[in-house]
Symmetry: C2
Subunit: 568 residues, 2 copies
């Protein structure tokens, strides 16, 4: 509450002076009582001042026939994953009703450390949305990772009094956490009593108890309802994730409904969602729609998109509901069942048509982040025996399988084909020359390669293909342009999306990015990548050594369950 | 979380070393999922470390056949109202399963200011319970009140970093709040973003909007379900009050059940409850029992007594559930429906038989707080005309009616009888000699008088009777002994409960206090006070000028709804 202006606001609330604006005639969704009540909402100085038809406004906004909800909240998002600038994400997602983001800028931190975090904070300062930041807790994600920067507790201390910093970002290093590794404990203790995001796919039993003991307050990695219930029983808040690659909403919402679970411990997040998916199907509004399609009451789904998230992050005295003293962030819907977003208001102002202006200067060091030596052909060789570890792609999941198979070979070297693709990860931050090579099943690309400098969390240069020549060409092209995605077929570069900002984001504008991405994705499927496998997203996760079961890094194949490299 | 010892606790959680103790075989009430699951709870260093039968303890506590709940929380209590020392309240209430108190020490503050608050904090430092303090926001309750001390924002600043201070205590001065009186705004701003207790009986419409706008987060004054719903719609958390005088549980719980309200916005409190009522019927366990009797599921009632309160006061990372990382505060029940408390554990230790040691030194200035001039007989005279304002007592309520009546009279002076009692309030803090006199209907005492130095919130000396001689005797006796309750019949002092600590509390021990109180109350009813009217409690509230409708102060009768003295 802005107590400087409280005297004026209180006069408005008491009806002594008119409100700046009154939102009139809407069917207001009350996330406290679950009611939908046709009434008016008085707003002054961007703050909700009173609820009731008795209020009079200097400006009156007619919402007759519309439903009025609190602005939607994404409970956990890496906004770098949209591939556009933060402001452009806001431009797109505001059309979906999103007014608040709980952001973990750990992609930026992995590439550029505190400079990357400062970029995210700075770029989101003046957008028509509330962007809060969780301090990335695992940069690098594991001690041996080849990422760009280390972000430790000492650096976090510089941010702890920033009112936009809410707590500790997703704690992926569960081993360091449950074994009380001093560097991890230092970070946990720094945020004592504040929200601490979890990241614990499949963690169970004693280790889950130890993880919760450490004060981790939520998890967004549940992919089935049994896992949800084990975590809820220990008090964890569950972010139901529906992103580009990981789509966990349906089994969880169905579980909630079947067991009549109290929903107050649940909210929605996207985690990683590409801008074209947000453009096509929506953002948090899509989660609400999908939950309703599963049978959830619309108001309950809206609660999970608003007040529950606000409460979990201790923001409920500012956001998450339509009540006096809260910020006037509203979504007007034409229809409740289809969540058809009509208008969106941030601090009382209609921001539906906000237009982002990319503004990163051309000489920013964040534009110069691909630092890798040229890759020699023999660096892509992989010696194979009778039986080899293979990363098995699972459609619609970001977890992978770990299988062993006899790989196709020539002269004792892996010869990729349409069943077994070759993957390579090239260190790209410090010119170390490291290249890890492995085999992947289920990606099925034929006659070419796709490469990316987006490769969670270390964001090295990853490339997957069925022949070394195209893979080498793709690597070289991304080195030349300073990062992005590229697709090569039979010696030709067909599509490229430059991502000059840290090798993660484009400021060329959403339309450009979206057109080229769509063409690239369509082409990748044409080249054999199955439906159900998102070619770019999947590639971006194959180098992430904190998600089960088998991953590839510049140092080779990594068994996540055993926490060791294959062959160690 | 105690991160100093986290390494050891994490080893226990992971099963590498045994727990200090394991609570084995209980049916554990899970307030997150609503389940009741037979399992074991491992505890080390007073902290819950893990849940599951796999844990082994150096000590094992057999809970076979029992239900295990989190310790109960009283969401709002003036512990001075028990009339015993804080430690003795804990001694009694721990037998009822209460392990946490959210205390507003505004009685102590009204008499003795910061010294009174320090006494409460100090006395509750080493009891087997968690006692948190809200900063009394309205001391005095109204600017013109004749109380002992002023407690302002400047004094509150000394407490704001005390980890046991959670926010601002009940904001009774709703007029000052909604009109943005600078002294009130200063206090509100000081606790921005922290819980702020409300006190808004019957507040509605524009004024309620303005009150919520000020950041008031809860209310415990609702006496009917319509009032509850109006406040819930604006986001207020509702403490359902069941104390000695105000008993609001039944209509509210029935309303919740009838409308199938989401219960997460509700919890229990006692506000003011005498120790003998706690001894007789229980404390928060009584609220749970009564809610179950109304038809509420036991687990839902337990949620309202535990996790909901913890969440509202931002304590849920420490208290309110049985989950790793939380304090090991448990209640073992023999039976869930009857909430039969068997054993109570605080930080893992059985504290069911805790015995308080009164310890306020005899020379403490808190024992010398009755400073009033002798009252002359003519000071009790009340001139009356055809029609007079009368305080109408309403059984089982602390709100009063405001009626006008023709009073019995002799020589133009009010002559009390068994229908119309006389009440007088004598200023007792600063020897000002002020005495206010009025008439009361519905108290019906015959042949004597009752007097008290407990008289919310200013705690002046109040006396009610049907004849001046007995009233004067009662006043004199309380002046002599430094405060307490006394009952006089036909010129004889029959029963006295000395309350030497600030005129509010006794350290003579519960048994002594309880025996004398019971005798006094029984005698009062024998003398005509109707069943449904708690003679001492009711008398203690008749001087509180912030609760509707008509009250009496040392300056005369006060119309709460008009906020002015009668005759002004």
């Amino acid at each position: 509450m802005d107590f400087q202006n409280f005297s004026k606001l209180a006069k408005v609330a008491r009806g002594e002076i008119p409100a700046e604006m009154v939102f009139r005639g809407g069917k207001v969704v009350n996330v406290f009582t679950g009611e939908i009540i046709e009434t008016s909402v008085a707003v002054t100085n961007g703050t909700i001042v009173g609820i009731g038809d008795q209020y009079v406004g200097e400006t009156e906004i007619d919402l007759a026939g519309k439903y009025l909800c609190p602005g939607f909240i994404d409970g956990h998002i890496h906004l770098e994953s949209t591939m556009v600038t933060p402001a452009e994400l806001v431009e797109q997602a505001v059309k979906c009703g999103t007014t608040t983001y709980i952001v973990d800028p750990h992609e930026a931190a992995n590439v550029s450390g505190a400079d990357g975090i400062d970029y995210i904070l700075h770029e989101t300062e003046n957008v028509p949305a509330n962007v809060f930041v969780m301090m990335p807790s695992c940069v690098p994600s594991l001690p041996f990772e080849d990422n760009g920067c280390i972000f430790d507790a000492a650096e976090m201390k510089n941010y702890i009094n920033n009112p936009r910093v809410l707590g500790l970002g997703e704690v992926m290093d569960y081993v360091g956490t449950v074994t009380a590794a001093p560097m991890m404990v230092e970070k946990l203790a720094l945020f004592d009593g504040m929200p601490k995001d979890g990241h614990a796919p499949g963690l169970s039993g004693n280790e889950l108890n130890a993880y919760v003991l450490a004060g981790i307050t939520n998890d967004h990695e549940c992919s089935n309802f049994d896992e949800v219930m084990e975590k809820r029983r220990l008090g964890m808040h569950i972010h139901i994730r529906e992103g580009s690659a990981a789509r966990n909403l349906e089994p969880i919402v169905r579980g909630i409904l079947q067991t009549k679970q109290d929903i107050s411990g649940f909210s929605f997040c996207t985690d990683d969602k590409h801008i074209e998916d947000i453009h096509t199907e929506g953002h948090i509004d899509h989660c609400i729609r999908k939950a309703i399609a599963c049978g959830m009451q619309p108001v309950d789904a809206i609660r999970m998109a608003t007040i529950h998230t606000a409460e979990h992050y201790h923001l409920h005295h500012r956001l998450g509901a339509i009540a006096p003293g809260l910020q006037a962030d509203f979504v007007a819907l034409d229809d409740l069942e289809t969540v058809a977003v009509s208008r969106v208001f941030h601090k009382g102002v209609d921001v539906s048509s906000f237009h982002a202006q990319p503004k990163l200067p051309m000489d920013s060091p964040l534009r110069q982040t691909v630092h890798s030596l040229p890759v020699q052909p023999e660096q892509l060789n992989l010696s194979v025996g009778e039986s080899c570890a293979v990363i098995r792609v699972i459609p619609n999941e970001i977890i992978t399988g770990h299988k062993t198979a006899k790989l196709p070979q020539e002269n004792g070297l892996f010869a990729a084909d349409s069943t077994y693709s070759k993957i390579a990860v090239v260190e790209r931050h410090h010119n170390t020359g490291k290249v890890g090579v492995g085999a992947v099943s289920g990606f099925n690309i034929r006659g070419g390669a796709i490469a990316s400098t987006v490769a969670h969390d270390s964001h090295n240069l990853s490339v997957i293909g069925d022949n070394d020549a195209d893979m080498l060409l793709a690597i070289e092209h991304l080195r030349d342009i300073g990062g992005g995605y590229t697709l090569v077929e039979n010696g030709k570069i067909l599509h490229t999306v430059p991502l000059p900002i840290m090798g993660l984001m484009s400021d060329a504008g959403f339309d450009t990015v979206q057109a080229e991405l769509s063409a690239m994705i369509a082409k990748a499927h044409e080249m054999g990548v199955p439906e159900g496998v998102s070619p770019l997203t999947l590639l971006s996760f194959l180098a992430l050594p904190v998600i089960p079961a088998l991953r590839i890094t510049p140092r080779g194949l990594f068994d996540v369950e055993q926490m060791k490299f294959i062959g160690e």
